[in-house]
Amino acid sequence: MKKTVLIFFLITTLHASDNKKASEIFNFIVKVITKKENSNVYIHTNISSLKVYSGSLRIVADCDKADLVLLSTTKNLPPECNKKILFGSRYSHLKNPNVIGSFFWQKGRPNILFYQKRLKKHNINLDTSFNRYIENK
């Protein structure tokens, strides 16, 4: 099939770019939290962008080996994961007090939100560029 780089009608291209950008953001956040170039990440249960583009993240099969757990849901989380740093992908994940922050869509816009007290609990100091995404809660 011919290349269609400039033919902007192909929706699949947009979906791909969408996923890639979401993956870049997850990669950026994980790196800032763990301070590691290649972090071990456990995904519970499925984050589609990281399924397609994992970037520099190493996706591991169980929580014990993970530096951080990324959540698509907080339900049925394996008990061993509760000891780890939990990061959500929806606003509602922040209702779980063990979740330090979340990258989510709300009102048609992507948002990032961390809670200060939860970061402190894990001794996490984020880059100053994240200051506007930290709430004093």
């Binding site: 033919i7 929706i11 800032v32 869509w105 560029s129 994240f130």
Partner: protein, 637 residues
């Protein structure tokens, strides 16, 4: 307080988020540039423009102007006294066409629908692509609802406006275990101004002297709506229930202004959308049930004209009540193949409509319409090939054919549409050329008046050229065409024009993006159409200008829009200046104030009360869109 939305100008995570937001606009995923001359209102546009109802967009739609029919219903091509003229303008909510059985297009019910559950809008003009729906269209309006993907959680919104009009709605959306749902409920009490009109009433049947009357015209309505959607990635089920009731302005009959009017529309749609084979096979089902009622009441001294098909004939008329019951079932199957340079789409669709208009009372006595034509079946097939010539060019070829089968003495019709398009694009330039020949079948509501009407047809060439820089978008669109068998009002009701009518259009658009959140849009639109009634009539030359400015300063979104219309026959030129400010108090709580048609100088609409030579002419002239100020709040949870 947290500044979640101020992302401009920063590096790192800020710019990543900003790029992600732009890439992920849902309109980027649904719009189809090859389908026609496209206008997109993104989520961001709709929010910052404070678009409350679809008419807020339609009033600045190039080539047309928002207006209403004599029952106070949306009809942007209104040709009074024909009760509805916009059947070529098709409206879709997600994958489901919003329609009524007798009028075809659902613009009549949904043209002023509140937009609080809509994520973005695409408008395709110039005889757009055939893969949208079963019947051809001159303009396709696609509305896409909000979804769990981008709107997890809920929102409550309350508005209060001039005359005590108010609107309250709520939505909630979520997804769990691969199943997502969206539920929305709305109540709108659309109270509008009333209009006093004095005229001399001439009785056409009885030997009584002319009498002077002053009547008050009303067009307030109340709308209740529920919309719910549940589904997985590939399968969704939608339920849409609407009730609209209120005043019916002049009512459906000519000759007198009613003392009292009432209209009620109850609409229910249940639809499914399924994708198979990696979304290359799409199967849609839709069932619509609609009940419509119109009531007009008259003083015995000022009866409207006699009703032509009444049996027995009743005169004078003191009340007229018409109910319409409709059922519509639509099935659609579409398959796409990607074969080397060809993207081939084959579609087959079927629609079954019944419409029962027998429930009619005149002067409170049952006086049924002759029940001879109440069923229509439409078989439609289309094939479309999108040929990628190289990295910059594509050709689109489409053929669509419909067979309309009707019962009783109304003749069947076969309509054919052909469309050829060429699109060239590089980093800066885009050109689109569309040549089309389209036949349009006649809608049931006019066939009931005249069963011998012919298909109307349009031939057109449209050329669009646009040039983009980092901050600007410039676009010119030129079109020529002609039409045959256009509907025209005649002394016996509705007939076909026997004139070939020339059409011409020219559009110039310029958008300047000062920054990510500040833009200026300028538009000038020219529209020429010869009179389909007689060559002695002057053609209509309609020009509109649009200036729109969107700015964001700190937590304020500021909107300014000026729409100027000139050239409409019989009505004064109008300019509609609207402006609004939205204040984001925090990320969950927003306040807004908006003024619409602030100087009360927008375009007027004119309606016949008494038509010429029967025995005198009297017209009612009222604003198409009223001056209105709105104060609103929304809270996210």
């Amino acid at each position: 307080m947290l500044m979640l939305f101020s992302l401009s100008g920063a590096d790192g995570i800020d710019s990543l988020l900003q790029e992600y937001e732009t890439n992920s606009e849902l309109s980027n995923k649904t719009k189809d540039e090859s389908a026609g001359n496209l206008i997109v209102y993104t989520r961001d546009d709709l929010e910052r423009m404070q678009v409350e109802s679809l008419k807020d967009i339609l009033k600045s739609l190039r080539l047309f102007a928002y207006t209403e029919n004599r029952m106070g219903q949306p009809d942007i091509l209104n040709q009074d006294p024909i009760n509805y003229y916009s059947s070529g303008i098709r409206v879709y909510l997600n994958e489901t066409e919003l329609l009524t059985g007798i009028t075809g297009s659902g613009l009549i019910l949904f043209g002023d629908m509140e937009m609080d559950f809509i994520d973005h809008v695409e408008i395709y003009q110039g005889f757009p692509s055939f893969d949208f729906g079963i019947e051809p269209a001159t303009t396709v309006i696609r509305l896409y609802s909000k979804s769990a993907e981008h709107d997890e959680g809920g929102r409550v919104k309350v508005n209060i406006s001039t005359h005590g009009a108010n609107k309250e709605n709520i939505y909630y959306t979520n997804s769990e275990n691969g199943i997502s749902y969206f539920i929305y409920a709305n109540h709108t009490d659309d109270k509008k101004d009333t209009y006093s009109h004095s005229y001399t009433h001439f009785d056409t049947q009885l030997p009584i002297p002319p009498s002077l009357h002053t009547e008050t015209l009303k067009r307030s309505t109340e709308t209740k709506r529920f919309y719910g959607s549940v589904g997985t990635e590939n399968h969704t089920v939608d339920l849409h229930i609407t009730q609209i009731k209120g005043d019916a302005l002049l009512g459906p009959i000519l000759g007198s202004i009613p003392d009292n009017t009432y209209k009620e529309n109850n609409y229910l749609n249940l639809s499914t959308n399924s994708k198979f084979m990696d979304s290359s096979l799409i199967f849609n089902l839709s069932y619509t049930k609609s009940e419509i009622e119109y009531l007009s009441e008259y003083d015995i001294e000022k009866s409207p004209y006699p009703v032509a098909d009444a049996n027995p004939m009743v005169y004078p008329i003191t009340s007229y009540n018409q109910k319409v019951d409709e059922d519509i079932f639509t099935l659609s199957l579409k398959k796409q193949w990607n074969l080397d340079m060809h993207a081939l789409t084959l579609g087959a669709q079927y629609r079954y409509k019944t419409f029962d208009m027998s429930d009619r009372t005149i002067n409170e006595v049952h006086n049924p319409k002759p029940k001879n034509y109440d069923k229509e079946q439409i078989y439609s097939i289309f094939i479309q090939d999108l040929i990628t010539l190289n990295d910059n060019s594509i050709i689109t070829l489409s053929i669509m054919d419909q067979e309309f089968k009707r019962n009783s003495n109304v003749k069947n019709q076969n309509t054919l549409q052909l469309r050829l398009g060429y699109i060239y694009t590089n980093e800066e330039w885009v050109t689109k050329t569309f040549i089309s020949s389209q036949e349009f079948a006649t809608e049931p509501y006019v066939l009931m008046v005249n069963p011998n009407l012919e298909e109307s047809n349009y031939k057109s060439i449209l050329q669009e050229i646009s040039y983009k820089t980092k901050q600007t978008l410039s676009k010119i669109t030129l079109g020529i065409g002609n039409s045959e068998n256009m509907l025209i009002p005649t002394s016996s009701g509705i007939g076909d024009s026997d004139l070939k009518v020339d059409l011409r259009t020219a559009i110039a658009e310029f958008t300047y993006n000062f920054s990510k959140k500040d833009k200026l849009e300028l538009q000038a639109n020219y529209w020429f159409i010869e009179s389909p009634v007689t060559t002695a009539d002057d053609p209509t030359e309609h020009i509109s200008y649009i200036v729109r400015m969107l700015n964001s300063v700190s937590n304020f979104d500021i909107f300014n829009e000026l729409v100027i219309h000139t050239g409409y026959t019989g009505v004064d030129d109008g300019y509609d200046y609207s402006a609004g400010i939205k204040y984001r108090v925090n990320k969950d709580f927003h306040l807004n104030i908006k003024g619409e048609n602030i100087f009360n100088n927008g375009l007027d609409a004119d309606y016949y009360n008494q038509v010429p030579n029967m025995p005198a002419e009297d017209k009612v002239i009222i604003p198409a869109i009223e001056r209105r100020f709105t104060l609103g709040m929304e809270y996210l949870f």
